[in-house]
């Protein structure tokens, strides 16, 4: 198998595809990873070799973290940034610091690819939900309905009032670690094809007495912008935004140059102009205005003005406005609320 060995050696030098599981206050790590050319941040854990856990992960989210861990195809490895792997039930994970993160990732990736490292799954190896053999056909449910293997619901016809043109309602719970969503956000939706029928949003609050994250020079608005750019398929420009976000003394000209590239009808606005307006207190109704605000605030901090952190939003009000949106639109809308949702996760807003 000399060919495979050779391939493995080349593969070990590839940019490290990492899946990022973000806890609270992990913007600095995310910006670091997006900005570094040695790392590819993936949108699906299936595409990664290494899982990076960053920020404060509350106790309530540890089980979900385990599921994401097992979705990274084996052989895999996990790197925990500034945290304790044992507390996260990931005993095999490597602990490291933010400064040493990327070097560590390159090392761990090479070890995984060359077969020297393989973290075993933390979840049950077999289907944890007992469904096989139950029901008239052994399909796990009543009538023609099947069971819920792995706890994942199947598409269900409504009990009454079914319209021939309606697809079966598909219930879906994602988060709190879905890479394309703001961190620590859990979304429960009923899908009608690709349109949201009903939405429930939950943030996972930090544990009491959780350590306060150290202040960083990273601009969370620009990190959010990088995420938004990655989601509309502008990964290269996302790198630029992330690099700008982690630069300690940003020059206002750089921010203006980035804005010049994005704020045109055929730039980022092609993706955000039509997302649908929101009616929320303290939030710009127009989706494009929201990322313009991030750039404006980055520009003002660059010239030394003080930066006003955005206030929290009421998640149930956001949820009610997402109903009827297409899935992709809803995801992009949530990402345009990233700073507000991060604030809500720490200190939830009371709905008016």
């Amino acid at each position: 198998m000399a060919v495979m060995d050779r391939l493995r050696r080349v593969a070990a030098t590839a940019p490290v595809p990492v899946s990022v599981a973000l806890g609270h206050g992990a913007d600095a790590v995310l910006a670091e990873l997006r900005a570094d050319a040695r790392v590819d941040v993936t949108a699906s854990p299936r595409h990664a070799t290494v899982l990076v856990v960053a920020g404060h992960v509350p106790e309530a989210a540890v089980a979900a973290l385990g599921r994401v861990h097992d979705q990274v195809p084996a052989p895999r490895a996990t790197v925990v940034v500034d945290g304790d792997p044992a507390r996260l039930d990931l005993p095999a994970a490597t602990a490291t610091t933010r400064a040493a993160l990327v070097d560590e990732l390159v090392r761990v990736h090479a070890a995984v690819v060359t077969g020297q490292r393989h973290d075993s799954p933390v979840g049950p190896a077999d289907n944890p939900v007992d469904w096989q053999g139950i029901g008239p056909h052994g399909q796990g449910g009543e009538g023609m309905m099947g069971g819920v293997p792995w706890g994942r619901p199947m598409a269900m016809p409504p009990t009454a009032g079914r319209d021939g043109l309606a697809l079966d309602r598909l219930a879906l719970v994602v988060g709190p670690f879905l890479a394309v969503l703001p961190p620590m956000l859990e979304v429960e939706v009923g899908l009608q094809g690709d349109v949201l029928e009903d939405v429930e949003l939950r943030t996972v609050p930090p544990d009491p007495h959780a350590p306060t994250p150290p202040p960083t020079a990273v601009d969370s608005g620009l990190v959010a912008l990088a995420e938004l750019l990655a989601l509309v398929g502008l990964g290269a420009l996302a790198t630029t935004a992330a690099r700008l976000a982690r630069t300690p003394d940003r020059r206002v000209e750089d921010v203006a140059a980035l804005r010049h590239r994005l704020d045109r009808p055929w730039g980022l606005r092609l993706g955000t102009d039509d997302l649908g307006r929101l009616d929320l207190p303290g939030v710009a109704p127009d989706p494009t205005d929201r990322w313009r605000d991030w750039l404006a605030s980055a520009a003002s901090t660059a010239v030394g003005d003080t930066h006003h952190a955005p206030g929290p939003v009421a998640t149930d009000e956001v949820a009610s406005q997402l109903v009827g949106m297409e899935v992709g639109h809803a995801v992009l809308t949530l990402v345009t609320l990233r700073p507000q949702l991060a604030a809500s996760a720490v200190a939830p807003a009371v709905s008016s």
Binding site: V10, P17, R46, T49, W150, T239, L275
Partner: protein
């Protein structure tokens, strides 16, 4: 059964088509990496930009394919194969040199349209097979997009066939050699066809099925060689449609001094680079806006385009 252009032996023809797709995919991948690194302003240097995609391919080859819960394995394997096959079908009817095509069939543009339709089937199956919600959403989405851009593509191709008085792509090239290139004779055609090219090959900003906001949609559950096969299919499809654009609108292998296939390659690469560059500078358009735009703006434009071409052909 075939038109006027010479055809190589079928085995040689298959080798040629496969070679064109492989080289094309390599060119698209390279262009993509170079453009991405330039747009990102990483200052990596050209050499690093050129090497990185090959390392990613090596990585994909050594990674495993995860097992989802009760997938439709048959369709999951069939989908990328069909998608690549349709790219091959499209390439095989295009004239690749001044006097030869792998299969210059008389129904060339209908074959091109059929390849598009069956590519839509392949994308739907690729989203359906893994039995995973986000992949399925990508599949549904692509059907909505596909039904919108298929008509567009047919009208544009029929308009190109009118001055040639033939559905054969060889004749379409010949009609441009005698007259004006279609890009000038039918100015609306090429922009509309580029929309189709981006849509059917799942490239940004019209990448409807594999969008990042769906955690990469139909490819979200694939890893390793399966994912590599799908990504190869996308680039092969972009190659096929860049070649088709060059043939239908830029007179394909026509050009002075150099051999025909060189001219075709130059034109197709130029088209591919423009498409790749668009993907890195334009944000992905939302599906609802895309469908609205396709039915209310682009489709009427293509009607108009066809009507003008028809009147011009009669005149």
């Amino acid at each position: 059964m075939t038109g006027e252009l010479a055809a190589p032996h079928p085995v040689l023809g298959a080798v040629v088509v496969l070679g064109v797709l492989l080289i094309g995919a390599a060119v698209v991948t390279t262009a993509d990496a170079v453009v991405a690194d330039r747009v990102a302003g990483r200052g990596l240097g050209l050499r690093t930009s050129l090497v990185r995609p090959w390392r990613r391919i090596a990585l994909a080859l050594v990674r495993p394919q995860p097992v989802t819960e009760r997938p439709d394995w048959g369709l999951w394997v069939l989908a990328p194969a069909t998608y690549v096959g349709m790219a091959a079908l499209a390439v095989s009817v295009l004239p690749l040199g001044t006097d030869w095509a792998v299969a210059d069939v008389r129904t060339g543009i209908v074959v091109l349209g059929s390849a598009e339709v069956l590519a839509m089937v392949a994308v739907f199956l690729h989203g359906w097979a893994p039995n995973s919600p986000l992949a399925l959403v990508g599949a549904y989405r692509f059907v909505a997009a596909g039904l919108s851009f298929l008509l567009l593509s047919m009208f544009v191709l029929i308009a190109a066939a009118l001055p040639a008085e033939s559905m054969s792509l060889g004749r379409i090239v010949a009609s441009q050699q005698e007259g004006v290139w279609n890009v000038l004779r039918q100015p609306l055609g090429m922009p509309l066809f580029l929309v189709v090219a981006l849509s059917v090959s799942l490239h940004g900003p019209l990448d409807m099925a594999d969008g990042t906001e769906l955690a990469t949609g139909t490819v979200a559950e694939s890893s390793g060689p399966a994912r590599l096969a799908w990504e190869f299919g996308r680039r092969a499809m972009l190659t096929a449609y860049a070649l088709a654009t060059a043939v239908v609108f830029l007179a394909g292998p026509t050009g002075p001094v150099l051999p025909g296939w060189v001219w075709l390659a130059v034109k197709a690469i130029a088209v591919a680079v423009v498409l790749v560059w668009c993907g890195h500078r334009l944000g992905r358009i939302g599906i609802e806006r895309y469908v609205r735009l396709a039915w209310t703006v682009l489709l009427p434009l293509s009607f108009l385009h066809l009507a003008i071409a028809g009147v011009a052909a009669l005149a």
